[in-house]
Symmetry: C2
Subunit: 197 residues, 2 copies
DNA sequence: TTTTTTAACACTAACGTTTGTTAGTGTATT
DNA sequence: AATACACTAACAAACGTTAGTGTTAAAAAA
């Protein structure tokens, strides 16, 4: 077989990672084999190890790439001078975009992080916990300012984040509404469910 | 080792199934091994096969037990003479109860069905698709009667079901609010997000 | 430009584990 | 006496990964 084909500015390693994300999404991390991944990449299994250290490294990279993107966005949004409800809506839209346009990595990061090995596992768990707390803080701020209903903030976070991960079934569905419509419907229901009066 | 301990009205097979559900939930179906399950049950791996046909049979049973319970409840609710929004709320509460009190099986059924083998795989997929359609029908009825906002019904279904599966993180969280509180908060946000005006 | 050197990368073969599962045998319970 | 059930031993297949060798593209030297 020939070499792994690369386009400009995208390394062979990145090709592997991206195909791994797709495979892990479809089969699950444990059920996906390196030989299968190699097939998809167009190379023998052993050759993958010229580019990566292990199967688990692939999962590490996928998970932390995603996590870091969300943390960065959170940093941005927290400092904006807009209402809590607007911050929430902005965050929500960012998550929805992620689920629509970077589906494979986001899905894997969400569902397969259990199979990370330490110290990556506990690192990611901590990151995720902190991230959820920052969202909860925005919500609590909104409740204090009476923009948002009096509800349990952690519960609201849990609903938000998991509702978004439901876009998974949108991807699988036959008659899809457009991404834009999906986004607006989700905002309507979720922000509508939080808004005071 | 001795025999598998059973209590009244619960067969050895059912003991295995229930411990399998817990194990599959914690490790994922593929990552969980029969030797591990045997350890938990308190028996050698080979002995499990006096009670079950295969590892996959365990998954089949878990998934279809759950699916059938929900379908049965749907049959009940559809025929009640109450508003669409009330039907939805009732269904929601049933799902929330399931996630709180039968967590292991429900979680496994939700996340590990990918690893079913045919014909069970396609059977379950069809069942799930139909189930979602029946929920969507209730929502569309509610929209027609102006009880519910004008939104895309399948999207609302997707949000509802996935929001509920978020109870998973409630289980994992340190400072849990009570199950009752969780239920009421979820109803507030989700039904609130759907209600017209 | 042409040639030589080097580094990147793909190959085959095999390793040690772990996997689900079966066969066959013995031992308790009915 | 018969049935239910647990045991030991072993199987074939699949797994992630390594070692060692060849090959091709890129960098350096001519």
């Amino acid at each position: 077989m020939g070499r792994i084909k690369t386009e400009q500015n995208i390394s062979r390693k990145e090709v592997i990672i991206q195909k791994a994300a797709t495979l892990f999404k479809e089969k699950g991390f444990k059920a996906a084999s390196m030989r299968e991944l190699a097939d998809i990449v167009g190379v023998e299994a052993a050759s993958l190890y010229n580019h990566i250290k292990s199967k688990n490294e692939l999962l590490n990279i996928i998970c932390f790439d995603v996590a870091n993107r969300y943390i960065q966005k959170m940093d941005e949004i927290e400092n904006e001078k807009i209402s809590s409800l607007d911050k929430l809506a902005k965050l929500l839209r960012y998550h929805i975009h992620g689920m629509i346009y970077h589906f494979d990595e986001v899905y894997v990061s969400d569902r397969e992080w259990k199979h990370l090995d330490n110290p990556y596992l506990s690192n990611l768990q901590t990151q995720r916990r902190n991230y959820r707390k920052r969202i909860a803080a925005i919500i609590e701020d909104g409740i204090k300012k009476k923009e948002i209903k009096k509800i349990d903030a952690p519960t609201a976070v849990l609903i938000m984040l998991h509702a978004i991960s439901g876009i998974e079934s949108w991807h699988r569905s036959k008659q899809k509404i457009s991404g834009k419509e999906l986004e607006e419907n989700m905002i309507t229901i979720l922000i509508g469910g939080l808004k005071n009066k």
